[in-house]
């Protein structure tokens, strides 16, 4: 799984660094739907996150959206750059990771790139 990007149907992506560690963000489709992102509310290092539950919020000019965790684990680091420059998520959603999660113990059902793209097409 290492190096490959997986997705949730709620439009988060996850990329594993090793078996127990991964970075999480929101998909390009999600950033397009949200429009101009003006604030990202991130958890703190050491916070526990639970697969399928919200761990962050992303705000566009008009709306607030919950960001769901694809895995259960502990926040190892947060992308501080998003605090001052939330627009980085619009510029490149796959570079603008939200958090790095360690001690991963459980996963949601993950879609690979192809499955996610099919899901997006079926939704439209």
């Amino acid at each position: 799984m290492k190096g490959e990007r997986f997705y949730l149907k709620s439009h988060e992506w996850i990329e594993f660094i090793d078996e127990k560690t991964a970075r999480v963000g929101i998909s390009d489709f999600a950033q397009q739907e949200l429009g101009d992102i003006v604030f990202v509310n991130l958890p703190e290092v050491g916070d526990e996150v639970v697969a399928g539950e919200g761990f962050a919020e992303v705000e566009s000019v008009k709306s607030i959206s919950e960001v769901y965790s694809p895995v259960t684990g502990v926040v190892r680091s947060v992308n501080e750059k998003l605090q001052d420059s939330p627009e980085l998520v619009n510029e490149d959603a796959y570079d603008a990771w939200f958090v790095e999660i360690g001690d991963i113990s459980a996963k949601e059902e993950l879609l690979n790139e192809e499955e996610y793209n099919e899901f997006l097409e079926s939704e439209n």
Binding site: G35, D36, V38, F39, N41, E57, E59, S60, V61, K62, I64, Q83
Partner: protein, 359 residues
Amino acid sequence: MEKKTPIYERHVELKGRMVPFAGYLLPVQYETGVITEHNAVRNKAGLFDVSHMGQIVIQGPDALENINMLLTNDFTNMSDGRAKYSPMCNPEGGTIDDLIVFRQSKDKYLLGVNAANRDKDFEWIKSNVKGNVEVLDISDDIAQVALQGPNSYDILRKLTNNIPEKYYSFLEDVDVNGIICFVSKTGYTGELGYEISCDKTDGVKLWNMLLDAGEEFGLIPCGLGARDTLRLEAGMPLYGHELSEEISPLEASLNFTVKMEKEDFIGKEGIRKRGTSRRRVGLKITGRGIAREDCDVFVDGQKVGLTTSGTHSPTLGYPIAMALMDKDYTDIGIEVVVNVRGREIPAVICDLPFYTRVK
């Protein structure tokens, strides 16, 4: 089922993201996005479809008397061709709507009202007028656009030389490159701008003509998202947020629109009784986070206010909000804490408007 404005098809072609608003399907933004649209209005020009706004005519020999009784502002010494903003109150002093009155003649007034309140206003006005006066709802016959931004004069000038000069004045039967229009120097953005209406059958033509004429001036179509961030920066109230049947115009800090020295008007006694135990102020958010509507505001752990709207301000680069604050906590500079979904975010009371254009 939401209604469509006469310009609906064009928004779809321009890839507007259509959302239901006040009973209409309107673009919240185009592909350009809210911030680009907002900045276009501040720096160049933006075009909005505001055909959803209601238009009510009050005419007849007793029109002026009725307007002065229905509305809190004073229309006695108004001239033809001028416009005036006013709340309309219920007897308890709560606000039924806020609107703009256009005096077409001594006996004929056009009221521009909020789309969401149009039916309520029409019923209220009809049931409260006295004497020789006629009330008509002409909203469905009209298409209306708002051309806003520093370049709006230059754009309009390409299509007509008949342009209202003074802020809050208007001209009727203006020939805008072949379309007969009602043109007022008004708007909801805090910028130089015009609101232009015509027969609904000419709506698409007017929209296209303005967009074409404005291309060289940086004009782009703008949606409801930018309309909201622009009016917020300009400190303008939005009905349902800063004003409601439970909020008096004085509580909303609209003192300049309430003429208590007028002999009588509906709501005068109610407004007086209600007093101003709370008032609308601006909040500059100094912490991280965006306070939107309905967030409690605290000073020293005590709840002293409630936000009514809030957003990230594209022009200022930080979040702003408006709030109804207890009267002891309305001074500029007071530090407060806003509770945003359980997080405590520091903010400071500031003067309204947040943004004033450089003339």
